[in-house]
Amino acid sequence: MATPAADADFKTKLQTWVPKLVLSPSLALMLVFVYGFILFSVYLSFTDSRILPSYGWVGFENYDKLFRLRHWDIAVNNLIVFAALYIIICSVIGLMLAIFLDQKIRGESVLRPIFLYPMALSFIVTGTAWKWFLDPGIGLEHTMHLWGWESFHFDWIKNRDYAIYTVVLAAVWQSSGFVMAMFLAGLRGIDNEMLKAAQMDGATNFQLYRRIIIPQLRPAFLSAFVILSHLAIKSYDLVVALTGGGPGRATEVPATFMYSYTFTRNQMGIGASSSVIMLMTIVAIMVPYLYSELREKN
């Protein structure tokens, strides 16, 4: 460098500080709005907060109450049923469509966007469309009756025992195309030469997929699982728009539970404790995943 030593020294010093300065506003926002807020919510879950935050320490009372509430029990059970079916069905449909589309299908460029467009919609729009489509009075059932199939019966959305499956149906409709896109990208990355070699050894198509192709999609399966489970735990809008948590409490999930206890039932302490449980569930899934993803790269 041609500049005098002192000047260069100042410059390098400045150069090491500028990047950190540029990063710091984002970091500060994250620290306050994410991690500070998490701590605050955790703290509130141990207090007697009702309409407004209050700071009387009550220990684990809120958690104790929470786990004894039948309402919470229903919400957790619904989430388990919903998440399990949602993840499994999305993965199966996504994998199937991806494999089918990968067979040099004519019109792939038309089909792919059709499978994927629901992902661009708001859950509120999806909920509005399906709510009406499934309404026995004017939707599918009504139409089938008009077409002469008088015995056709499909009233799940009004039925306490089956309403949660309509949430699964609408959610699968919205996200399975996205899973398809992930698997398709995985399939396109597989080395063809290896498949040809296996084929020469007499492997059938089924064996090719079963033994070679699907095992290689492991990273795509993992990503799909992580993304879908995270979407499932956060799902709020769809339930609000499709069933409003009903009929009765039949489709209540932790996200709707938290909202109603905090903002309409004025039980903020219990609401906060339910949000902490939700966070812990996500942490259990995300942290190992992020850790392995970030470690691999460095």
Partner: protein, 293 residues
Amino acid sequence: MSAGSTDTAVRTGRITRTALYLVLLLFALFYLLPFAIMVINSVKPLSEITGGNMMALPQDWTFEPWVKAWATAQIGVDPTGLKPYFWNSIKMVVPAVAISTILGALNGYVLTKWRFKYDTLIFGFMLFACFIPFQIVLIPMARILGLAGLAGSTPGLVLVHVVYGLGFTTLYFKNYYQVFPTELVRAAQIDGAGFFRIFWRLLLPSSGPIIVVSVIWQFTNIWNDFLFGASFADFDSQPMTVALNNLVQSSTGVKEYNVHFAGAILAALPTLLVYIVAGRYFVRGLMAGSVKG
């Protein structure tokens, strides 16, 4: 697509192929049907919906439901239609997308080209923030927005969306800049170029695709958000999704399904348009959010 996939190893017979096409077409129908039916029924008079067949094309075409949904439908207390809420959404989305993308680009630049101790850890913390259930921040956020005088305002919502979108935009730019040759940056440094000059002259000109990805992702997410809008907005700032939900769920009077459908399509239109125009990037954004590296 790689060159290898032009010649697939898996071969299929004619019967299998027919079955493949059949299944694919059935699924295409499944994905298209609910939305298509909504479109058809949004141009029917109400009597044809409640008395008729949802699959039938309209006998009397009418665009009145659209006009009504946009300009005169009763939402909340006022018969304003969705129009003011549409502008609320625009006023919220544009600055939120711009700010989070700019910050994301700078963060990605720092985290790849100006690495320092613990930068991966910091990135991990930012990335984790993408995945928290937002219920955990609702109560403190309501409190802070209130204290800052931002409760129920558009700037408040912009702040919220910037904060919780930062993780994703940083991720996009970090992954993108990772493969940008660091030697070029070092060479420019030796030539005396500073931090911002390198970013402006060297990295930004080649960032077109990833800016599009980030903008589309943020636009779709923020436009479609319901939880924050429902929690932190009032009439002057309520976004489209919240207004649509109010319109559809309102219990007073006759349920005007055709108006609801027109409203739902209006709410979906901006993201659908973006998707039709730039679908390729939309897919890339989704992928980058899941499969990293």
